[in-house]
Symmetry: C3
Subunit: 181 residues, 3 copies
């Protein structure tokens, strides 16, 4: 366990939702309301294929429109701790999304446990608002693929650990927030 | 954008839920409470195979029991706008369900965007209560099939667009409503 | 219909959630708060394979830590009614989980309907608190496998029947409860 311990993170909001639930858009609005621009956008998506490239471009275009140019983007598929440390101290931060980051760590065969501890430490250090987006992936039928089950378990556990310490947890349904905490 | 613009629909309720969440039954109860019979049931299901035929028959039988015969059924797998216009002006309407309708449009290679606009216009014209049932399908693991992912995205976006304008949004869990809006 | 009829179960709590949502841990805390030890843990999991054996061992280890040794475990993959009758009258009971029990009944080609009635009767007889854990599995994309669809339907219907009679229904998101009823 690191020096950061397991204290509360009153400055952190966890935004959970399914695919195309509108969680990213809702999270962006929360960051803009949380403080003045520039806002920091930490993007964890990696363009593995054409479909992914299209999704990333689509998200960027939406952000450019809604954010009115006030966003600084940090691409960080693996080193979230470094991204959080490099953001300006007073800048509200959006991390989109934790589930993709976990995917990148697992597919890249990195030390997931060490990466989580480093991320939790960096999160504990910040004082300005941080909004974390994550997928809720455990509500369908059990996947037949063993790797998919292992990933689903890891994603669910990560969501639980963050939700336990975050100051606010929202579950997004059709673009609208259900307040969980 | 059509003349209907993007104004609010205070007369519209969106009922979201997973498979076998009890969303249809709950929606039917809402329509019966919303006004006097006859109630209009707009059914979008198409019997592609035996399983689907069984499901449709099962739903009909349930409706016959609970509705005490006050339902007028309009089968409308593709033309929802026409179905809404043909319903009596003062009749509360149930549309079950939007996700199947979207499936029918996509599998039939129709112009989805034009169909949505026509449906939104027809919805804006009505004054009597309308209850729309839709599936929430984005909460499982990412499907391996590209068509399933494209469908999931389209269904999620449609739910968001309607939720933004509807007067009431409910998320059904095990037959019970969680009020989202 | 049995003598137990379909009356309310004010002593019953239904805890719903996805895979790795933290529903088991939350349910265990509810049982410990509901009354003095010893608490009865009715485990429905069957170790079909190595992965399942690992999951069961993991759950046991967590329970040993959090429960401080106050748990009496009854392994009951098929006969839930018998397990409920054999628990001490005043002992708070945790059943984890109903969805696995249903899987065991269906894979074992048992009479599901009779098993449900016997379980409902036994549940109606108890006076001490009972916490039932179940999976919400209907929120992903429609499974391609017909057996998975049939199972999903049966699991959803069971959840609805219990939710209608339970005194309390919780939906767990990232370890946190959303009160549904």
């Amino acid at each position: 366990m690191s020096a950061a311990g397991d204290g509360a993170w009153p400055h952190v909001t966890l935004v959970l939702g399914g695919a195309r639930s509108g969680k990213s858009r809702h999270a962006e609005a929360l960051v803009r309301e949380a403080g003045a621009a520039p806002w920091t956008y930490v993007a964890t998506a990696e363009a593995w294929d054409e479909e992914m490239r299209t999704r990333i471009a689509h998200h960027r275009a939406e952000r450019a429109v809604t954010g009115e140019g006030g966003w600084i983007t940090i691409d960080s598929p693996l080193d979230l701790a470094g991204a959080l440390r490099s953001a300006a101290a007073e800048s509200p931060v959006l991390v989109d999304c934790l589930t993709l980051w976990l995917t990148n760590l697992m597919l890249g065969e990195r030390d997931v446990s060490a990466a989580l501890e480093a991320f939790f430490d960096a999160l504990s250090m910040r004082k300005a608002p941080v909004v974390l987006v994550a997928n809720e992936v455990g509500l369908g039928i059990v996947p037949e693929n063993a790797l998919a089950r292992a990933f689903r378990d890891a994603a669910g556990r990560l969501n639980q650990r963050i939700a336990a310490r975050a100051g606010r947890v929202l579950f997004i349904v059709a673009g609208l927030p259900v307040v969980v905490k």
